[in-house]
């Protein structure tokens, strides 16, 4: 009886191991962040880029409105590339673009906006990068589509024409 049980168990264990590894093969081993997130926006206090006044998240984001939060910096090269696209998106009156100036020097950031234009309705600052973590961001540039104070979609990396048309389609 005992001798019969042992092979049985061995087969079962190998079966389990096989199934686990086989299922593991289907999973991608490249880390993919969750992009279609339906999360509430974080509650935070920050400072206004121009005036330096304290800004609360409730002062920036209103319910029933659609926003694109764009994390940018003057030292970030891909931000320069996506900037003209943000300027085009600014023409669309269904969406307000909010800027989060990430680990930047104010003087350089002001020059950046003077040179390339300012697409942002409001800008708040993040000197040490902790604000960006509140948003669950990885770096610059990154954009969050927000509606009714919820993050609908996250765009990691620079926006391109396809993504801009996707945003325009989503906010229609």
């Amino acid at each position: 009886m005992k001798k019969k049980l042992l092979p049985f168990f061995v087969v079962i264990i190998f079966g389990i191991v096989f199934i686990v590894f086989y299922k593991g093969l289907e999973d991608t081993n490249i880390y993919t962040p969750d992009l279609n997130v339906q999360k509430d926006i974080p509650i935070f206090t920050s400072k206004d880029f121009y005036s330096g006044k304290v800004l609360k998240s409730s002062d920036i984001f209103e319910f029933n409105k659609t926003y694109l939060l764009n994390i940018w910096s003057s030292w970030c090269v891909p931000c320069r590339q996506e900037h003209p696209l943000l300027m085009t998106l600014k023409q669309n009156d269904k969406i307000d673009i909010i800027g989060l100036n990430y680990k930047d020097n104010k003087k350089n950031a002001v020059i950046f906006l003077q040179d390339l234009g300012n697409p942002y309705e409001k800008i708040f600052i993040d000197l040490d990068g902790t604000q960006a973590i509140e948003w669950g961001a990885y770096g610059v540039p990154e954009s969050f589509l927000i509606n009714n104070n919820k993050i609908i979609k996250k765009y990691i990396g620079p926006l391109n024409e396809d993504l801009i048309s996707e945003i325009e389609y989503l906010i229609k």
Binding site: K2, L6, F9, I13, I16, V17, V20, Y31, P33, D34, K103, D128, G129, T130, A132, I133, E134, W135, G136, Y138, G139
Partner: protein, 121 residues
């Protein structure tokens, strides 16, 4: 009296620095268990990327706010998902990972026990 003053100042300085060292130990312990999501195979502790530097600052802030190690992990798990932790928790996706080694160990032990001890009898 002067000696006493000097002694007090030195004592004060040393006690301050030991508090800071404790804080730093706690930060190091937490950041060693956080995966730097923008790096390859590095913990937040090891990395000097912008992301890791910000996370270190954040962990320090949260500790100062009085959050425990576990609360900080939970906070970051909500923001970035389970992947940010090096030490995965026991849940429905990871139970095989945790239980399989124990199971194999027990079965292996049982086989050894059976072959060596029961056969000799």
């Amino acid at each position: 009296m002067k000696i006493l003053k000097v002694f007090l100042v030195i004592f004060f300085l040393f006690s301050q620095s030991s508090i800071n060292a404790d804080d730093q130990d706690e930060i190091n312990k937490i950041t060693k268990n956080l995966r730097c999501l923008v790096c390859q195979g590095q913990s937040v502790y090891d990395s000097d990327s912008e992301f890791a530097i910000s996370l270190k600052t954040l962990v320090k802030q949260k500790l100062n706010e009085g959050l425990s190690e576990y609360q900080i992990y939970n906070y970051l798990k909500i923001k970035y998902g389970e992947w940010i932790l090096y030490d995965p928790e026991l849940n429905k996706n990871t139970f095989v990972l945790w239980l399989l080694p124990i199971l194999i160990f027990l079965i292996g032990g049982a086989i050894i026990f059976k072959n060596f001890f029961l056969k000799n009898k």
